[in-house]
């Protein structure tokens, strides 16, 4: 019996929910005042949150969950006994526009199983985006998955219609990929990301040249919100240190906007090659924190490795605090004199707090109370800094400093 659109939605949204990325940030600013429907403001919007704490920003679905591959971590692998479905192009377009008009979503995140071939799947994904844009004047956000091994020309098409492209590296190392997804090629995935980066660079160069008066026609945009990727954490035994090393090389190589970490969790359609227990979500959280330290706080991956003696992040305390406790000789930092770079390394001080400290101290030296108004985490910061009226004294050297700063276990909130 043919499935209804709602039944397909249940199957194909369920299959897509394991992809962590749902961001709608970046993108070329535009609106519907000149026709069509939809807008992109540059800042993403989360239209709802589900009880897993995740943001619902885009309609995140697969075009189909039929797949010829057999990647053991994936709920849609060919040997999985899930229900299968396939949307038509018009069904996806209709769903997107309906939910968009109700103001439930920022746009569409479309991925797909490989029903027959990489090229055919890439073509189908692009057809949905093209129909939304050209036939319906849709100006909202579109994130398309690019399929490893798909023809370059097809990816070039996809980037014309999508705000963001992404290709998942799936696992942090090549041997893990070979073990869990023997039919996928790590090289093919990296080549795919490389080709997207080259096209993004090229489109940017062309637009810069155009802005300087070279060339007559305005060059088309290519994935203006950049590209991202995702890796599954805990399906293999790669250490956090090696995961972060892999990420920093991905950021440098393909100028990714984001590397998403997705803690391996059971799907109800278990594969024998995988661990049977889920990975603590806290591990995923610590990886994101470390990822931030690498990108916005001036930390090098080797520095972080240094504070992970067994290669794993401390689950009890955040990675900056862990690093600071290992490097106490670099503290306390004088709030009124230290450089921005030094302040960024103080636990409890975020990038915004640091900016405000630097701006505030121009008109007078700061006391501890002043800083307390600039950050929510003054207790964590206090042992690592000096202010006009504050010195941590010997507490910085206390052996029990870690225990004192580690958050107390709390009972989960009931609702």
């Amino acid at each position: 019996m043919a499935l209804s659109v709602l039944q397909k939605l249940e199957i194909l949204a369920d299959a897509a929910k394991y992809d962590a990325s749902c961001a709608s940030s970046g993108g070329a600013k535009r609106n519907a005042r000149g026709g069509g429907i939809g807008s992109v403001t540059g800042a993403g919007i989360c239209h709802a949150y589900t009880p897993d704490g995740r943001c619902v920003s885009l309609l995140k679905i697969l075009l189909t969950n039929f797949c010829i591959y057999d990647c053991s971590y994936c709920v849609s692998r060919r040997s999985s006994d899930v229900a299968r479905a396939r949307f038509t192009v018009d069904e996806v377009v209709g769903l997107t526009l309906d939910l968009y008009r109700q103001n439930c979503i920022e746009g569409l995140f479309l991925s797909s199983g490989i029903a027959r071939s990489a090229d055919e799947t890439m073509e189908d994904l692009t057809r949905v985006a093209r129909t939304l844009r050209d036939a319906h004047g849709f100006r909202g956000y579109i994130h398309l998955k690019t399929i490893p091994g798909a023809d370059e020309a097809l990816i070039a098409q996809a980037g014309r219609y999508a705000d963001r492209l992404s290709m998942n590296v799936e696992l942090p190392t090549e041997p893990s990929l070979t073990r869990l997804a023997p039919e996928k090629s790590a090289c093919e995935i990296r080549v795919g990301m490389a080709s997207t980066r080259m096209r993004i660079d090229e489109a940017k160069d062309d637009r810069v040249a155009y802005a300087r008066g070279r060339g007559r026609a305005k060059p088309p945009r290519f994935a203006p919100a950049g590209q991202s990727t995702q890796m599954i954490v805990g399906a293999d035994n790669t250490s956090d240190a090696d995961i972060l090393t892999a990420s920093s090389s991905l950021y440098a190589s393909y100028r990714l906007k984001r590397v998403y970490y997705s803690a391996f969790s059971p799907t109800g359609h278990a594969a024998a090659a995988l661990p049977s227990r889920p990975v603590p979500l806290l591990r995923e959280h610590r990886l994101y924190q470390s990822d931030w330290l690498l990108r916005f706080y001036g930390f090098g991956v080797d520095e972080l490795r240094g504070s992970m003696p067994d290669g794993m992040l401390d689950l009890a305390i955040d990675p900056k605090l862990a690093w600071a406790l290992q490097n106490r000789d670099r503290f306390p930092v004088d709030l009124n004199r230290a450089s921005k770079e030094e302040l960024l390394r103080v636990p409890g001080l975020g990038t915004k707090a640091v900016q405000r400290i630097v701006a505030s101290r121009r008109s007078g030296r700061l006391r501890l109370d002043d800083v307390a108004r600039l950050t929510a985490s003054i207790k964590r910061a206090r042992p690592f800094l000096t202010a006009l009226d504050w010195h941590p004294g010997a507490s910085l050297d206390h052996a029990f400093l870690r225990d004192r700063l580690a958050p107390q276990p709390v009972q989960l909130p009931l609702l």
């Binding site: 919007i45 709802a48 897993d52 995740r54 943001c55 999985s80 109700q102 049977s276 889920p278 405000r356």
Partner: protein, 482 residues
């Protein structure tokens, strides 16, 4: 002590506050001498005496802060704004940058809360479709926390310019008729139609329920971003309790489910794929070597690189050029010498009378060695172990192409071809007989790129001269160094 009584909602026009503040300032009233109150409560204090409001200049950031903070519901916002104006005027011109000041911190906190409320309005308004005499109207009921409706409205106008829509709230109504925004009276409760269709329909409810992963319950993370205040008007929120209640048992079922037997089509697909792989046509020899090199893991460099960059050119080329390793651009494109050094090489070859298309161009090391730094990759010289691990592939290329002359570009190529450290500056421009055949040593073009411009021209000339030797060798006999 005077009292200034103002309306609570100044979102349509904040002139009453601006006027009063200017008057108080021209009367030189210190903040302790004047009190601002919202809602015109009865008071024993007298109103502000008449005075000409002198024009007042403020730093640009202040207006923005004021316009946002004034929309907050906090009773003290007017007083704090006046305090700040007073201090800006009396010697604290840089006050705005001092976020650590209690007054500034509070006002910035209010502005932040207002911005967040606007953002949440953009996020959480849910439209239902209702029919009226003009057709379809997209109708929503929403309860913002502050007086933010007017600030939130342009977003919906820009996004849904082609639709008719109306948002009703307890602080007013905004209406868009496809041409103009208009504002109307407050509405205290949702009318029936907004409850019936649209976002409360099956589509959204189904999607919201399905995209939730019960194995990742994190209620605190949800409520931090979607505070319960907003739940009343979010149709999907009605499902939350049930989703949470059932999460535990759903997770247990998932964890306990044993690996299930594969569906029948899985095996058929697997067989078809295996067959397709077996029946691939055999590759010509150089192609076959290239394909094996693509899977090379003889040294650790493959892990961080995009791909092995194999040589390219005619497979019977008389001339082979060997560089060091691919760089950033070569690694991405999968072709040797396509980056800046490659462009310089092309020019130099041309000036030496050699067509690049007739040469076989490759590298001593096939994978890019680098150190990640932010969004860049910093080139790192391959070490002797990596060079010797990659010798295998270079040897295979030489054996296949059998060039009459090899040009080693730089020390790494020299190390690979001679099996010893070479001194490029001393040994350049000479032809050596090696196990690989005749080899001419010269600099790597990227060496030229690192030179200051005045030296580069001279060194470029020497580089072209070295390449010209290669051109002569290929066209006639030339003396070979010991």
């Amino acid at each position: 002590m005077y009292l200034v009584s103002l309306p609570a909602d100044l979102s349509a026009d904040d002139a009453p506050f601006r006027d009063a503040a200017r008057r108080a300032l021209s009367l030189n009233l210190a903040p302790e001498k004047v009190s601002f109150s919202a809602n015109g409560e009865a008071s024993l204090l007298g109103p502000l005496p008449d005075a000409k409001a002198a024009p007042l200049t403020v730093p640009p950031g202040f207006v923005e802060l004021m316009e946002l903070a004034i929309l907050h519901r906090a009773a003290e916002r007017y007083d704090l704004l006046y305090q700040m104006l007073w201090r800006l005027k009396h010697g604290e011109a840089g006050l705005l940058a001092r976020a650590s000041d209690p007054c500034v911190a509070r006002l910035q906190g209010y502005a932040k809360a207002v911005r967040r409320d606007i953002h949440k309005t953009h996020a959480f308004v849910r439209f239902s479709e209702v029919q009226d005499n003009m057709g379809t109207l997209h109708l929503a009921f929403f309860e913002p926390k502050h007086f933010t409706l007017r600030r939130s409205a342009p977003f919906f106008r820009d996004r849904f310019a082609g639709l008719r829509w109306r948002i009703e709230t307890p602080v007013g109504t905004v209406n868009w008729d496809r041409e103009t925004l208009s504002f109307g009276a407050a509405v205290s409760a949702p009318s029936e139609p907004t409850r019936a269709n649209g976002a409360s329909g099956e589509l959204w409810q189904t999607y919201y329920r399905t995209t939730f992963n019960p194995a990742r319950l994190r209620i605190d993370a949800m409520t931090a971003e979607m505070p319960k205040h907003y739940w009343r008007n979010l149709p999907e929120a009605a499902q939350i309790q049930k989703m949470i209640r059932e999460a535990g048992s759903r997770e247990r079922t998932m964890l306990d489910s044993a690996p299930s037997p594969a569906p029948r089509f899985a095996e058929r697909i697997a067989e078809r794929r295996a067959f397709a792989e077996e029946t691939q046509a055999p590759l010509a020899s150089l192609e076959a070597i290239k394909q094996s090199a693509g899977a090379c893991t003889r040294c650790p460099l493959h892990a961080g690189a995009t791909q092995a960059v194999f040589g390219e050119g005619p497979k019977d080329a008389a001339l082979m050029l060997v560089g060091e390793q691919p760089g950033d651009q070569e690694d991405l494109a999968g072709r040797p010498f396509v980056g800046p050094a490659g462009q310089l090489l092309d020019q130099a070859l041309k000036d030496a009378g050699i067509a690049r298309s007739e040469a076989y161009v490759t590298n001593a090391v096939k994978h890019f060695k680098y150190e990640p730094r932010g969004k860049r990759r910093i080139h790192k010289k391959p070490n002797a172990g990596e060079v010797s691990a990659c010798r295998w592939w270079l040897d295979a290329e030489i054996a296949e192409v059998r060039p009459q002359l090899i040009v080693a570009l730089g020390a790494t190529a020299g190390l690979s071809l001679f099996g010893r450290q070479v001194s490029v500056m001393k040994e350049r421009g000479q032809i050596f007989e090696s196990a690989q055949g005749r080899v001419l040593l010269t600099v790597h073009p990227s060496y030229l790129l690192r030179l200051p411009p005045e030296e580069r021209a001279r060194e470029y000339g020497r580089f072209v001269a070295d390449l010209a030797i290669a051109a002569r060798v290929l066209s006639g006999p030339v003396e070979v160094a010991a």
